[in-house]
């Protein structure tokens, strides 16, 4: 069944409809991420927002980016964040105060930033619309990736490796320190109370 060229009543093209829906979903999801009281729901809204974003990439003629968005953001990062949320929600629970007391200032700053960006965008003469053919295909991107950007590609791979190792190291449960090492006679420090040592020791037992 063929759809009409424009949406009845509104006079929008279908593209426009998709754009508006996606934009609503993305911005709504993002807003729910930052103002939601339940952190797990925030994570889920973030997935929604990311999914909407992937739609935009398709609209913009970059399906490979859309695919990557789904795989990396929704598939990897969001899941990682959800795991982290589950790891860090102790029984004490999130405090009622989701927001910092500087939240009002943050709001002002965010609105100011948005206004500023909008001014910049609206007062700038952007290049005119271009032909469809400009949208690069996957093959073209791949060619670029392994020619002009090969160095950056390799560096990013190293960076990822480093991040993986770093992540593992940081998240690894710390072994209890050798008690002998802590007892070294340190005359300079002997008169000061040990900084937060009791809390540190308790924390190393972990949740």
């Amino acid at each position: 069944m063929a759809l009409p060229q424009t949406i009845p009543l509104l006079g929008w093209s279908w593209d426009d409809l998709i754009f508006v829906v996606l934009a609503g979903v993305m911005l709504g999801g993002a807003l729910m991420v930052v103002i939601g009281r339940n952190i797990i729901r925030s994570g889920l809204y973030m997935i929604l927002s990311f999914a909407a974003l992937a739609g935009f990439y398709v609209l913009l003629g970059a399906p490979i980016v859309a695919a990557a968005q789904v795989l990396i953001y929704i598939g990897a990062i969001s899941v990682l964040i959800l795991f982290a949320i589950m790891l860090t929600q102790s029984k004490a629970g999130p405090s009622n105060l989701v927001f910092h007391h500087q939240a009002w200032a943050a709001g002002v700053a965010a609105v100011g930033l948005a206004v500023l960006l909008l001014i910049v965008i609206l007062f700038t003469d952007w290049p005119a619309e271009v032909a469809d053919g400009v949208a690069a295909g996957t093959a073209a991107i791949a060619r670029l990736l392994f020619s002009d950007y090969v160095l950056a590609f390799e560096i990013v791979s190293v960076l990822l490796l480093a991040a993986v190792i770093g992540g593992v190291f940081l998240a690894k449960r710390e072994e209890a320190l050798d008690p002998g090492e802590r007892q070294v006679d340190e005359p300079t420090l002997a008169r000061q109370p040990p900084p937060d040592r009791p809390r540190g020791v308790a924390a190393s037992e972990g949740p």
Binding site: Y57, I85, A92, S95, V98, G107, L118, A163, V164, R199
Partner: protein
């Protein structure tokens, strides 16, 4: 409308502003990280949009977006690991409690 660069850029800047607000206002470290992801995505959206509308950037925009994603993944990995490590010591994910740097 859907064919204009302005629309995408406005969308990206709104998303960025929302992310900024989240980063500045949330007390939970993971929420802050999520806000950062939002901001990165806003940037990505802008980059891809430029790639689609500026002939000289054809293909390059998408590629840069891919790189940003890779870096964002690395950032998320390390950031979350740090949050977990601090959480072990401080027993809280709330950043206002992480003030030991001040002494």
């Amino acid at each position: 409308m859907s064919q204009s660069l302005d629309a995408y850029l406005i969308l990206a800047s709104l998303l960025f502003a929302i992310g900024t607000f989240g980063f500045l206002a949330r007390r939970n470290a993971i929420a802050m990280l999520m806000s950062i992801e939002l901001m990165l995505n806003a940037v990505n959206l802008a980059i891809v949009a430029f790639g689609a509308y500026v002939p000289a950037l054809a293909g390059h925009g998408a590629l840069i977006a891919l790189f940003v994603m890779a870096v964002a993944a690395a950032e998320a990995t390390v950031g979350l690991a740090i949050v977990i490590a601090i959480y072990r010591n401080k027993r809280t994910p709330l950043v206002d409690e992480y003030a030991s740097m001040r002494e």
